[in-house]
Symmetry: C2
Subunit: 131 residues, 2 copies
């Protein structure tokens, strides 16, 4: 029943401190895909908002003792992990929405980074919302 | 470098035909998590909008010949796969945003289903948007 994915690329950013969430991030960085995927970016343009799915690769293996967690921001009590954006979760998949600034071959310059340098990218999708 | 995930549950829906995208879906169904994850839902409420990450488990293995695809809707030409929501992609991860209607133990009744019955669920997150 396991599902196995291979990273399609990696996040590159020189930011030393990262915002807590993409929705409050002005940090710039690059999504550098494996060169073999370059045609998969065809028709992407500056200004596009894209969904980036990635692996929280520095999170330790999840323990079921952590199904409830206290979010680090705000004065909230504990919440179920599926009601939080915690990187420490049963399947360590991250999700951020960023804005494309420029395309350079297999590298996408974006604004809105909240991922650490070296984060493995699993997928990129358009941010489709009802109009 | 592989990343391995285990499904946390499965989609149940009796819909025979599914809309092409969650953003145009009124289909109801249930996200049935493994009972061991029930505490991970603590503080989820009807009306919440949640991000569901899932495995396109019926997609065949990806071929690099398909890095450009013609979306089935609209009169568009071929686009890079990362600019489409195609279920046929390098890592077959799906992403839908649905609305919670009711909670019943480890089962979440939702509206907005565009996944097939039996789809493995990988993660659930709150739909956090800048206010």
């Amino acid at each position: 029943m396991s599902v196995v994915f291979e990273p399609i690329g990696f996040v590159q950013t020189q930011a030393r401190t990262l915002p807590r969430h993409w929705s409050v991030s002005d940090v710039e960085g690059d999504l550098v895909l494996d060169a073999s995927y370059i045609r998969g970016l065809d028709s992407m343009s500056p200004g596009d908002r894209i969904v980036v799915l990635f692996h929280f690769h520095e999170s330790p293996p999840f323990s079921m003792d952590s199904l409830m967690q206290r979010p680090p921001h705000g004065n909230q009590g504990k919440k179920g992990v599926f009601c939080t954006c915690s990187p420490y979760r049963p399947n360590a998949i991250g999700f951020s929405i960023v804005t494309v600034l420029a395309l350079n071959g297999n590298s996408i310059r974006v604004r809105g980074i909240d991922m650490r340098n070296g984060t493995p990218i699993l997928d990129i999708k358009p941010d489709v919302r009802p109009s």
